[in-house]
């Protein structure tokens, strides 16, 4: 039986000053069968009808476990991947169907930082060439010359400007991430999508990069979409957090609320699973252990995709896809039976 989809994601997109507006965006990857004809046999439903918006200077965190579609979501809203359905608006302009070429001028406004600074930097280019690439692509000629501008950027992100002619392999992981950041802010974008920007770094270096991202946000009024699996880091840096599971957004709320009073059973299980660096608190905490494995995104469960692992699932959850609805001011959840009580962190 096909499940009924509730309508009404309008409320999630209520803010009129939105920089980016993502309305029921889908991204499917076709799977072709064997044989000569390569007939399409199904789809990997990586992102299924996600909606959110982001205002200037804001950080929206996207969390979820491997395979939840958070990276695909980031790449799709950046138009690095073509959405299968839905609508993406940047500063009020519909960019859903813009071609790669038409997107070029927009790249000045939206940039991306990747997880792996080792593979996202061309090893044969000097740092100077890497950081100045956006100027070249966009045909921008800084008033004081490219080198002076790049060296300023290097100093701004905590790199030694004298290392202008060095190669990426001469830098440590944390420094390489700073190179990626310098490149991303070169054209003073309004939005940066950060995909697991600190996951590969040691904790002491991770904190340095998180602080740098926060400083740059204050200085340039940047909006971030911060995609990561580490809830503690996301919670630290984000104003609001979207929790994804199997391609869908389960909950969006202010980042304090996500930990203190999660309304979706999945968010609750996820936050309870994060061990806190505090032995006394750990001894008191109770975990919600989820049973089973993540279902396949090729053939997701009917109704609520989380129902197969949800301790509260009922018949309605199999029949009806829960809409992302406002449960408290600014707090949205996609659940037929959301958690009611205020949950103290313990």
């Amino acid at each position: 039986m096909t499940a009924v989809e509730e309508s009404g994601t309008g409320q999630v997109l209520a803010r009129d000053n939105a920089l980016l507006r993502v309305d029921k965006v889908q991204k499917y990857f076709p799977i072709s069968g064997g044989g000569v004809l390569k007939r399409k046999v199904g789809d990997v439903k990586a992102v299924e009808s996600i909606s959110f918006d982001i205002v200037p200077g804001e950080t929206l965190g996207i969390v979820g476990e491997s395979g939840c579609g958070k990276s695909t979501a980031g790449r799709t809203v950046m138009k690095l991947l073509d959405p299968t359905g839905g609508k993406i608006e940047f500063e009020g302009r519909d960019i859903t169907h813009l071609s790669r070429k038409e997107m070029v001028p927009l790249r000045r406004e939206m940039q991306m930082i990747f997880q792996d600074p080792y593979s996202s930097l061309t090893p044969r280019h000097t740092v100077g060439t890497i950081i100045s690439a956006p100027f070249k692509v966009q045909g921008v000629k800084p008033a004081r010359g490219v080198q002076a501008e790049v060296q300023d950027l290097m100093a701004r992100v905590g790199l030694n400007p004298e290392h202008y002619n060095r190669y990426p392999n001469e830098f440590s992981g944390g420094q390489r991430q700073r190179i990626g950041i310098a490149r991303a802010i070169a054209l003073r974008p309004k939005l940066i999508v950060c995909d697991e920007p600190v996951s590969a770094l040691d904790v002491s270096i991770q904190a340095q990069v998180v602080n740098l991202l926060e400083d740059l946000q204050d200085e340039f009024q940047l909006a971030y979409i911060f995609i990561a699996h580490d809830l503690s880091v996301v919670r630290h840096i984000s104003d609001r957090i979207a929790v994804m599971y199997l391609g869908r957004i389960m909950e969006i709320a202010d980042s304090e609320k996500i930990y203190e009073s999660p309304r979706h059973p999945y968010t609750h299980a996820l936050t309870s699973a994060v061990p806190l660096p505090d032995p006394r608190t750990e001894r008191l905490r109770e975990r919600i252990l989820l049973q089973g494995d993540l279902p396949s995104p090729i053939d997701p469960p009917s109704g609520c995709v989380f129902r197969t692992r949800c301790p509260k699932a009922q018949q309605r959850c199999a029949d009806e896809i829960p809409a992302l609805r406002e449960l408290a001011p600014g707090h949205f959840g996609a659940c037929h039976f959301p958690e009611e009580k205020h949950l103290l962190p313990a």
Binding site: G174, P277, P279
Partner: protein, 359 residues
């Protein structure tokens, strides 16, 4: 060799050194590491990349290639010294008395053989039993580590399983011969948090049941807080602080430990506080600073008179019989700074958790 030195501890590591000669000079990956673990207890070794935590565990297991590295010191497992023991002898202990689980299960599971075949072999290497008996043991262990329908899984290949399932298979393989010592090197780092929670739970249950001693190597202070009884903090190949879990988290005395604790964002505390990262980069193990290895990143070295931090390596000084620290700061100074830094943390505590009592 006297065994009196083991003081009856189950695993006793004394002055362990692993040096790799290289073209650029000797890499002192592990330099004078000393710690011990009792049965039924968990010791966490905490540190960042290049701190020597993984090499320490490999040296204990006899997995460091002696042709490329010089290993010295003593490792007593239940009174038996392993560093000077013959390789065959260490090999016979490995898998039986001591076992190891890794971050990446694919690196320890063979892609060509079924789970069943690999588990049966793991049993039969150490026990003289028939294939059927071994298969039965394998099935029971898969069931024990929470793998659904183990009978069917025995016929699967590693690539048929999810990451969490593979990790469980590896844990099952490590536990097949009921080892008394389990070394877990970043056992949950590659896993999602909900799966990590399941694996941590499993390790705790198995430890309670079998009284296994666990050496847990990790960079995740949350996992440490959850599982460990004692903690060793490593930096630049050395132990810089060690002590019972509560001493390390609530009474730390080494600037590096303060730095680590200040670098981690905490989900349960107010979010607007800025993180306090450790400045600079971890040291190169070839050109270690002459004095304290942490000196180049330490914000407090100027408090020590006479540039001692630049010229003199500090010793691991005991504060209590269990808690020791490697730092030139005066004990009174260390306590004062620690209180200051930890109160900054405590101030972030949200209301409503202050009056909670421990179980």
């Amino acid at each position: 060799m006297s065994t009196a030195g083991t003081r009856g501890r189950f695993l006793d590591v004394r002055d362990l050194k692993v040096h790799f000669p290289s073209e650029d000079g000797v890499v002192s990956a592990v330099d004078g590491v000393t710690f011990s673990v009792d049965k039924g207890k968990t010791l966490a070794i905490v540190g960042e990349s290049g701190s020597g935590k993984s090499v320490t565990s490999q040296a204990i297991m006899g997995l460091v290639n002696r042709k490329s590295a010089k290993v010295t010191g003593e490792v007593y497992l239940d009174g038996e010294e392993l560093i000077s023991a013959r390789p065959e002898q260490v090999r016979s202990l490995r898998g039986k008395q001591m076992a190891m689980i890794f971050q990446d299960p694919l690196s320890s599971l063979h892609p060509f053989y079924t789970i069943g075949k690999q588990l049966v072999e793991a049993v039969r290497v150490h026990q003289d039993v028939s294939k059927d008996v071994a298969l039965k043991q394998a099935k029971e262990m898969l069931d024990r580590v929470g793998i659904p329908s183990p009978e069917r899984r025995l016929k699967d290949y590693p690539h048929n399983l999810s990451g969490g399932m593979r990790q469980r298979v590896m844990i099952a393989m490590a536990l097949l011969n009921s080892p008394e010592l389990l070394i877990a090197d970043e056992p949950t780092t590659a896993l999602d948090v909900t799966v990590q929670a399941q694996i941590i739970d499993l390790l705790r249950d198995l430890q309670q049941e079998f009284g296994t001693a666990i050496v847990l190597i990790t960079h995740d202070l949350g996992v440490v807080a959850d599982l460990a009884d004692d903690v060793v903090v490593m930096y630049g190949g050395r132990v810089v602080e060690r002590g019972p879990i509560d001493d390390i988290f609530y009474r730390p005395e080494m600037p590096y430990t303060w730095g680590l604790l200040g670098s981690v964002p905490r989900m349960d505390l107010g979010r607007n506080e800025r993180l306090e990262p450790i400045p600079g980069q971890p040291p190169s193990l070839i050109r270690l600073p002459q004095g304290c290895v942490f000196r180049p990143r330490c914000p407090y070295h100027e408090l020590v008179p006479g540039k001692r931090c630049d010229v003199e390596r500090p010793e691991l000084d005991p504060i209590t019989p269990e808690h020791a620290v490697r730092c030139h700061l005066e004990p009174a100074q260390r306590k004062e700074i620690a209180i200051e830094r930890l109160t900054a943390h405590a101030a972030r505590k949200p209301a409503g958790t202050a009056g909670m009592e421990e179980k």
